[in-house]
Symmetry: C2
Subunit: 378 residues, 2 copies
Amino acid sequence: MIRTMAVVGTGLIGTSIGLAISRHGITVHLLDKDEVAARTAAALGAGVVGASDEPVDLAVIAVPPSAVGDVLAEMQARGLARSYTDVASVKAELARDIRTSVDTPSSYVGGHPLAGRERCGPLAARADLFEDSAWVLTPSETTSQDAVNRVFEMIALCGAVPVIMESRAHDNAVALTSHAPHLVASLMAARLQRGSREAFRLAGQGLRDVTRSAVRDTGLWSDILQANAPAVAGVLRELRDDLTTLLATLDDLSNAPQDMRSQCLEPMVDLLNRGAAGLAAIQGRQATDRETRVEVLVAESPGQLVRLLDALKTFHVEAEDVVPRHSTEEGTFSITFAVPAARAGQIVLELGRAGWNAQSVDPVSGARQQKMASVLSP
Amino acid sequence: MIRTMAVVGTGLIGTSIGLAISRHGITVHLLDKDEVAARTAAALGAGVVGASDEPVDLAVIAVPPSAVGDVLAEMQARGLARSYTDVASVKAELARDIRTSVDTPSSYVGGHPLAGRERCGPLAARADLFEDSAWVLTPSETTSQDAVNRVFEMIALCGAVPVIMESRAHDNAVALTSHAPHLVASLMAARLQRGSREAFRLAGQGLRDVTRSAVRDTGLWSDILQANAPAVAGVLRELRDDLTTLLATLDDLSNAPQDMRSQCLEPMVDLLNRGAAGLAAIQGRQATDRETRVEVLVAESPGQLVRLLDALKTFHVEAEDVVPRHSTEEGTFSITFAVPAARAGQIVLELGRAGWNAQSVDPVSGARQQKMASVLSP
């Protein structure tokens, strides 16, 4: 059981950890070379300023990646804690440094909470920052089990979910899912310096989404990127190859007569399709989840379709996922939508109770099952 | 005054226009080569299926860009409407085609509502889709004033804001603010096909934001991009130049010994800074807006800082924009934040009324103005 903790570095992440842990009545000692930052964190309720007289159970080194090694060595020399972790977003190089430069590497386990906000500093901190997010740990074969278990406990108190990974696998993963995307956002955002006010009136959600993650904290990011440069370069090199092909296609399209253009499109269509497939991969559409199609016959009279869409919202079926089709019955639509197979029966039942003519359609044979609505009619 | 309208093409945009206009009691005739789509739009309340017997005041051609010319010619030949507009997102080439291929080009004014959703089709339509968004019109010198005024009226009924632009300027603007960003999102999303499930556990908001706009509707986007290829290529070529420099920097960082890396960073830092500047440009932080700094002294006792942050929220001052500093008074913080100059007096006054020790600080001289709180004390 953790009874005392220390947080070294009371920025956004450190202060948020302090807030999350202090809620549980555990004393958190707050240290920062910027004394105002530590006092601010304390005033927010993240803990008390200054080190404890005796070693705490666990200290979190929440300083920029390039400073973690030195701060860890210093804190171990001071005997600040029994176990240590950090929050740096690049792990392999750091692990190597720590193995060679620190007295007791076994008391340290690398950590990386996958949470953050656009703003930094203690005043941006939130006790619920880590709730339900992943928190990677990268123990080596020499890491003590005690250290890992103490960090597990802290992660649970923060409401996060631990993920054990090998440090190199972690770095490759974040190159793809975090570092390259941030750089891509910066690359697009850099184009906007030349934009006119008139052009910006046409800016919509798409531009805002793509550029939102553009790097603001250049110092922190230089730190991160230099520690993970080969992995990030690997992702961006593939992207550049696609971009080169895309530019060639756009040039072909610019030069071709209008009626010959469709012959140039193929490489671009291939890229767009791969992009759509990649998007589907992270949006978690599990093609393996078995789905059942439900069909509802709707009279083509005013308001009926709107009423049905409202009813479907209660089952979390969005209007956009609904397909209207011709029906063999005069004056009606056949409205179909897919739902998880396990919930189809219940949904058909409830729609029938509410007076809709609903049935589920077997996904394999397409055969309609007996109409639940009729079965339920008294 | 528009009294009757037609919408040709009842997808997301056409149906949303129908819904927005029908609210005002205007009859909207809905036409689509897919009869179910037109009937679906009608069932949602977007209008009535089928053309009117006599010409309507205004017809919106809401079909994919490459089909606009032919559909417009066909509808003019049928005498569907007195005036025509479209909703295609590329305008210059289309305007050229229409000038040469259509009988009465003067009755047409090019239009582009800057609104959309990720999903398409009539069931995704919303009456408020265009509210407060820009709607570009690209009249030429031969466009009739009647046509433009009718479209102005429709735009007002949709709750949108008209923007008159030259068609080439429009196309360059959307290349920067929409077409290139969508392609950049696709380029990043295409990398994700190779990602492991483990890597995706680490995916955060950044990745989701950057890839959200990846092209889904490949057919529509091939249409858009081939009509605006030169402008889009211009934006992406600059991006590729930056990407090439970035890759060279990442390679240098990969090869340099750890203590020599800071010498390689400069080109990357330059890119990140330009990205941050571009981001600020579209996030509408007007450096020219005069701001006044407000200072509040806060006791370092439990809960006071949290109470102040809550109070500031009522003035739309976010915690992240607040800077805590040492104060010369023992046991207190000096908390400062910037607010629009015009509102500073009122904010200081209200903070004072609530018992806070607040004052505004002259932005030029840094001199503190007389403490409002003291002035107000009875």
